[in-house]
């Protein structure tokens, strides 16, 4: 031990020194973390202050707080964006896609997690292969597919495409989760004569609840945010999702010259995402970190 010969006084002095150094480094740690916190949320703070300002006031001082809040901006933005239509479209697409994604991927994940069969390795390789490809190549052919299948002009085209496209990522995640579910429960059920179907619905799915919540949240946020596919598949603005609608907010009408109205529209459009995040936050962070720690 190196400390064996050091006098008691010297140790005390070191401790005092240590203490003050510790305090300074603590302070620095918080300063840096708070600095990044401000950077991370500033754009949201912009929305919150800008949406309530008068236009002239905004251009004079885009940074400060609104002097007299203009609550009518929300009503105006709501009308201008036809937002109830977009909200309906987005909600339908996201909810239906989440259901489709979870059903398709969970059944695939279940089979890969529990059974051995011929070509299992090859099939899994085929699933993993999609991680290599960026989605750009599929974009236009999918529009053609929707047209040929008679789905062009229907929101179902988005639901079907999203559900199929997300199988690899979700099956990958759910498989590793389901492999962690102990087999004793299902063995008892099989003894009692349960079928594959019953084991899947009565044991595997309920026990996969947290993983399903994680993947469902991501699927919701992803389908809510996607722009490329819905913009390509929208025959008219009747079929716009909220994310697409916000894009047109800055191009047409008063939004082009009035940042305060744009900010109100943006704020309305992100409310569902904020609600989902606030409610399901623990699944988001937990799932994300579980997936990342396992590594791809």
């Amino acid at each position: 031990m190196t400390t064996a010969g050091v006098s008691l006084k010297a140790i005390k002095r070191l401790q005092v020194l240590d203490r003050s150094r510790w305090l300074i480094s603590r302070g620095l740690v918080y300063a840096v973390l708070v600095a990044w916190l401000i950077i991370a949320v500033y754009p949201f703070a912009w929305v919150l202050t800008a949406c309530l300002k008068e236009v002239d006031e905004y251009y004079l001082d885009p940074l400060g707080l609104p002097a007299n809040p203009q609550w009518w901006h929300f009503a105006h933005a709501w009308k201008q964006m036809r937002i109830e239509r977009y909200f309906f479209n987005s909600t339908f697409v996201s909810v239906a896609s989440v259901i489709g994604i979870l059903l398709l991927s969970a059944s695939v994940a279940f089979v890969f997690a529990r059974f051995g069969f011929r070509f299992k390795g090859v099939l899994w390789g085929f699933v993993m292969f999609s991680f290599l490809l960026p989605g750009t190549t599929s974009l236009f052919p999918l529009v053609v597919f929707a047209q040929k299948a008679g789905l062009y002009g229907s929101l179902w085209s988005l639901v079907i495409i999203y559900s199929a496209q997300s199988v690899p990522w979700n099956a990958f995640f759910l498989r590793s989760y389901m492999e962690g579910i102990p087999r004793e429960l299902e063995e008892a059920a099989i003894m009692d004569g349960a079928s594959t179907w019953q084991v899947f619905w009565r044991i595997i799915m309920p026990l996969s609840g947290p993983a399903l919540a994680t993947m469902g949240t991501f699927a919701f946020l992803w389908t809510w945010a996607d722009v490329q596919l819905p913009i390509m598949l929208a025959k008219s603005d009747e079929l716009f999702t909220v994310a697409v609608g916000t894009l047109f907010l800055t191009i047409s009408g008063r939004g082009a010259t009035d940042p305060t109205l744009v900010a109100s529209g943006l704020l309305i459009s992100i409310v569902p995402c904020l609600v989902v995040y606030a409610l399901l936050q623990r699944y988001v962070v937990k799932g994300l970190t579980a997936g990342a720690l396992k590594g791809i």
């Binding site: 973390l33 754009p43 052919p141 004569g193 594959t196 490329q228 936050q281």
Partner: protein, 306 residues
């Protein structure tokens, strides 16, 4: 009668028939959505087609045209910028912040909640927010002028040499926010016993960093690279929202270049160019696959060393 050769249970649990029934919907849908569009893209890339009527076969004309197109260099330049930002700024900065966050900070959950916020908001919304920060009459210039830095204020989105970086700022911002959460979880997962043992042996902070922290999270860091580097090639929404590829078409990324060929804004007179767009999409896919394989090799070697 059900064939029971592979099944050991009366109920038929795990029978071949059941396996097929469970696999078919998911795998069938995925196989279709994966194979058909990619094969179709290869065919379209050999044609001239506006999306109306039928495609006209033109051989490799689209690829020849791509090599002569000055936008090709622009997009490769943007890709190089994105990649270097990811490697030099996003991942190291996220790691540094995550390291600070893992130092038993009070209110860690609050930090985490807000750091992750950008990830749950659609990119189109974030892009519009950032646009209003960067435009000439925007927040950033106002802030710079009010602290006397008038000389620094500029047209962030239309000055050549500046705009190419400006449109990547939101990517940097959201990237750091995302990887902080990943790295923080990895760092919190390191067993405290390792550090206790090290401090008994008289290790200082740097030694702990080099001999415990870095080796423990290296696998996660590589995973982050696997996600971040190919992702850097797909930058689309921010330049699309903030500059539409301008000024003088100098902020085109590959994905935006592709998209602007296959999508024409309603009411515009120019027809989409599906053939050319598909050729660009194939270039994007080739670069993406190449880069992914490169990073994956890196990962395997790392595992072998362990």
């Amino acid at each position: 009668m059900i064939k029971r050769r592979r099944s050991f249970h009366l109920s038929g649990y795990g029978s071949t028939r059941d396996i097929l029934l469970f696999l078919l919907p998911g795998m069938g849908a995925y196989a279709f959505i994966m194979l058909y569009p990619n094969i179709a893209s290869i065919w379209y890339s050999l044609t001239k087609w506006s999306g109306y009527g039928s495609p006209q076969f033109v051989g490799l004309e689209n690829f020849r045209r791509m090599l002569r197109d000055p936008i090709l260099l622009t997009t490769l330049g943007m890709a190089a910028r994105s990649l270097s930002l990811a490697l030099v700024v996003i991942l190291p900065l996220a790691f540094a912040l995550a390291f600070l966050l893992s130092r038993k900070v009070r209110g860690r959950k609050v930090f985490r909640f807000f750091y992750f916020l950008p990830m749950v908001i659609p990119g189109s919304v974030l892009g519009i927010m950032w646009k209003h920060i960067f435009i000439y009459e925007g927040v950033l210039n106002f802030a710079l002028r009010s602290i006397g830095l008038d000389a620094v204020a500029r047209s962030w989105l239309s000055e050549l040499g500046v705009a190419q970086w400006t449109v990547l700022v939101p990517d940097l911002w959201s990237g750091v926010c995302f990887y902080i959460i990943i790295f923080a979880a990895a760092l919190e997962g390191i067993s405290q016993e390792l550090y206790d043992a090290a401090s008994i042996d008289g290790a200082n902070g740097w030694q702990e960093m080099i001999y415990i922290t870095l080796p423990s999270v290296w696998a996660v860091y590589v995973t982050a690279m696997i996600l971040a580097l190919p992702g850097a090639l797909s930058t689309f929404i921010y330049p699309f929202v903030m500059t539409r590829g301008g000024p003088v078409r100098k902020t085109y990324t590959i994905a935006l270049w592709m998209f602007s060929n296959i999508y024409s804004v309603p009411g515009s007179s120019s027809l989409p160019q599906i053939g050319y767009g598909s050729a660009i999409a194939l270039l994007h896919a080739a670069l993406g696959v190449g880069l992914s394989l490169l990073v994956w090799r890196f990962r395997r070697r790392d595992v072998a060393v362990e």
